[in-house]
């Protein structure tokens, strides 16, 4: 018998009923994360059917998408963009109360973007099945969990039964050999990978990221990589847990403690693909060849490294993307004027991301006319960043320092890029209009984003980061 992949091991341990030709597997869910946007209709469905939450203690809720990132006014009311947004947040509050679900509300020191707080609290653990009505749930796979986004109907399924009906995805290995060069970030790596395999390269698959370069990544960097798996169309991304994972989790509020920790650790150490495990597809990546990488088009597979030119449009759609972006094939991306810079999101809103941006901004000012928003991924990230004085660095440079949330990544809380403006953004999607109608998005690492803010145009971030390292 061939060895098992990490996916096989987690899947088998959670299959309440196996998959057959006629029926999908019934898959048990260990941790269900809920936010205000994709849950109200699910709670309504339960109410209509007279159902309760089967295991409310396995669901954790917070609010992040519709929430303002400007502080509450003098009367304590947060400045919601519309009455509907305020109502959506109130609805989540009422639903959590009625169904007995733990909610990290706006006033909680533990609140934040759902994919930032799960790991931060140690609620995300190796070997778990984790779902959320949000496609970037793939983030949690960085801990060796099987974590994927679901729709609102499925949010209802999990609330009512703690299970989902699922066909088992295929297993795809992305082997990243060698080491990333200095000045090259995990974001550059994942953009490079998506550029290689395409925005549908992972459809029907779970990607396991493997190899020396992946092992060398910090947990934050691994989260950035797994986060964007969905941008390659993959169901999920995962990385086998190792000492980096265990060290990161130890002592976190919801992680196992004492003897339970010892038992968990013994189990977690078995969570890796066996040597003779077979993958349905294997992609090999040379880490040393990755340069700072940014998107130039209107999906996350249209990427280019900072030293290369914007590719020729191969068809009318690619030409449309270039026209939308106002870019010319054959020209360098470097030098393109920038209007807005956004640092934040579940992709790059963690403390290490803010440090990387601050390292570029320290002692410098934003270029004239550039607006920069820095939005911490959680209240804890905000607190820690302020303890280190990063907020002062951002403010001194002329950037806006905000309250935690999804903010300008999904642009549904009022944090918008204006029509025609070009934003260099550490978020995950550059679709037409994603950051506001007519907004143009260039996806980039925190260092690339901060460097663009200082230069006023897209620039090789290594001009700032490597120099710092040498000096």
């Amino acid at each position: 018998m061939a060895g098992r992949t990490l996916l096989d091991k987690i899947w088998d341990a959670h299959a309440v009923a196996p998959e057959t030709v006629a029926t999908p597997a019934v898959l048990y869910v260990d941790l269900h994360l809920v936010h205000e946007v994709t849950s109200p209709q699910a709670f309504s469905e339960l109410r209509t059917r007279g159902l309760r939450a089967r295991r409310p203690e396995r669901t954790l809720a917070t609010m992040d998408h519709s929430t303002p990132t400007l502080p509450a006014g003098a009367d304590g009311t947060p400045p919601f963009v519309t009455p509907e947004a305020a109502q959506q947040v109130r609805t989540l509050r009422e639903n959590c109360r009625e169904f007995g679900i733990d909610l990290l509300d706006l006033d909680s020191a533990q609140r934040g973007i759902v994919h930032v707080i799960g790991p931060e609290l140690g609620a995300t653990q190796p070997g778990m099945t984790i779902v959320c009505g949000d496609s970037h749930t793939s983030t949690h796979g960085a801990f060796g969990a099987l974590a994927f986004g679901i729709g609102t109907s499925e949010v209802g399924h999990v609330l009512a039964t703690q299970c989902l009906l699922q066909r088992k995805p295929k297993a795809m290995a992305v082997e990243v050999h060698g080491r990333l060069q200095p000045g090259v970030d995990a974001k550059d790596l994942v953009l490079h990978i998506i550029g290689r395999i395409g925005v549908d390269g992972g459809t029907g698959c779970v990607i396991e990221y493997r190899g020396e370069a992946i092992r060398a990544l910090s947990m934050e960097q691994r989260m950035t990589v797994c986060n964007m798996s969905i941008e390659a169309g993959a169901r999920a991304g995962m990385i086998a847990p190792d000492d980096t994972t265990f060290a990161w989790l130890r002592g976190r509020a919801r992680a196992p403690q004492g003897e339970a920790w010892t038992r968990a650790l013994a189990h977690w150490k078995t969570l890796h693909s066996d040597r003779d495990a077979r993958f349905d597809r294997v992609v090999e990546i040379d880490a040393a060849a990755v340069r700072p990488t940014l998107s130039y088009g209107t999906h996350p597979g249209m990427v280019v490294d900072i030293e290369a030119s914007v590719p020729q449009a191969g068809n009318a759609l690619q030409q449309r993307a270039l026209d939308y972006m106002g870019l010319r094939a054959g020209a360098r991306l470097a030098g393109t004027p920038v209007d807005v810079v956004f640092v934040g999101s579940c992709t790059n809103g963690r403390l290490s991301d803010l440090r990387a941006a601050a390292a570029v901004l320290r002692g410098r000012r934003l270029a004239r006319g550039v607006r920069m928003l820095v939005v911490p991924g959680s209240a804890a990230v905000k607190h820690d960043a302020e303890q280190e004085g990063l907020d002062a660095v951002f403010r001194a440079a002329g950037a806006e320092w905000r309250e935690p949330g999804c903010s300008m990544c999904i642009a549904m809380n009022g944090d918008l890029v204006a029509p025609g403006q070009l934003a260099v953004s550490t978020s995950n999607r550059n679709f037409e209009g994603r950051q506001g109608p007519g907004a143009r998005t260039v996806l980039a690492s925190p260092a690339s984003a901060a460097a663009a803010a200082v230069a006023g145009h897209i620039v090789d971030p290594r001009a700032y980061t490597i120099e710092e390292a040498v000096a």
Binding site: A13, V16, A17, V21, A22, P24, V26, Y28, D30, V37, T38, P40, Q41, S44, E45, R54, R55, H65, S66, T82, E84, Q87, Q88, T91, G133, D134, S135, G149, I150, G151, T152, S153, G156, H157, A160, T161, Q162, C163, L164, L165, R167, V199, D200, T203, G204, I230, G233, R235, H299, L317, I410, A411, M412, R429, F431, E432, G433, R434, P437, G438
Partner: protein
């Protein structure tokens, strides 16, 4: 759920590859707490110009698109976000079937749970459908075939369980609730 065995309509074509769910329903309309009424914002930023008037050049605004419930779309339809608002918006806008050569995983799963038929055909047949908008198509969900006006037939891919649920009107939550005993056993053993 009402059983769905056939969808019969002229086709409307959106040939773009990678039509993402932000395109289908922009995020600024996701602050709703109900499923209803999203159809008027389906493809909002394609359908309307910046002054709010309908763009006459957009396919779905043209007279010949009126009453069409079958959308033939470019490869990798529904990529991006997991928002179920995308199939809700399409259904509310009168679209009951989406045909492509590839449909993004989460969108397809969401669509089928709501009775929006999301099906894939082979590349050559996909190209044919993209090139021939306005074709009178008859989708037979039970037989797994799309009948063309000239008598030709294209087979399509659809998961067996999804097909069963659609054609028999079976609700997936009801199916899961009946697994109660097995779930209980699993929880006692592992969870």
């Amino acid at each position: 759920m009402k059983p769905i065995r056939h969808v019969h309509s002229r086709s409307v074509v959106l040939a773009h590859d990678n039509i993402d769910t932000d395109r289908i329903i922009p995020a600024r309309f996701l602050t709703t707490t109900t499923r209803e009424g999203l159809g008027r914002h389906a493809f909002q930023d394609w359908r309307y110009r910046s002054d709010g008037s309908p763009d006459p050049d957009f396919v779905l605004n043209r007279a010949e698109a009126a009453g069409c419930s079958i959308l033939v779309a470019g490869r990798n339809f529904g990529c991006g976000s997991s928002r179920e608002h995308a199939p809700w918006a399409l259904l509310d806008a009168g679209i009951h079937a989406v045909i492509s050569s590839e449909i993004a995983d989460i969108f397809r799963s969401n669509a089928l749970k709501n009775g929006l038929l999301a099906i894939t055909v082979a590349d050559a047949e996909h190209r044919f459908l993209l090139r021939h908008p306005g074709l009178e198509l008859r989708i037979d969900v039970v037989a797994g075939e799309i009948a063309l006006p000239d008598g030709g037939r294209f087979g399509f891919a659809l998961d067996a369980f999804a097909r069963h649920c659609l054609t028999e009107g079976i609700d997936q939550l009801g199916f899961l609730l009946r697994q109660h005993a097995a779930i209980q056993r699993h929880e006692e053993q592992y969870a």
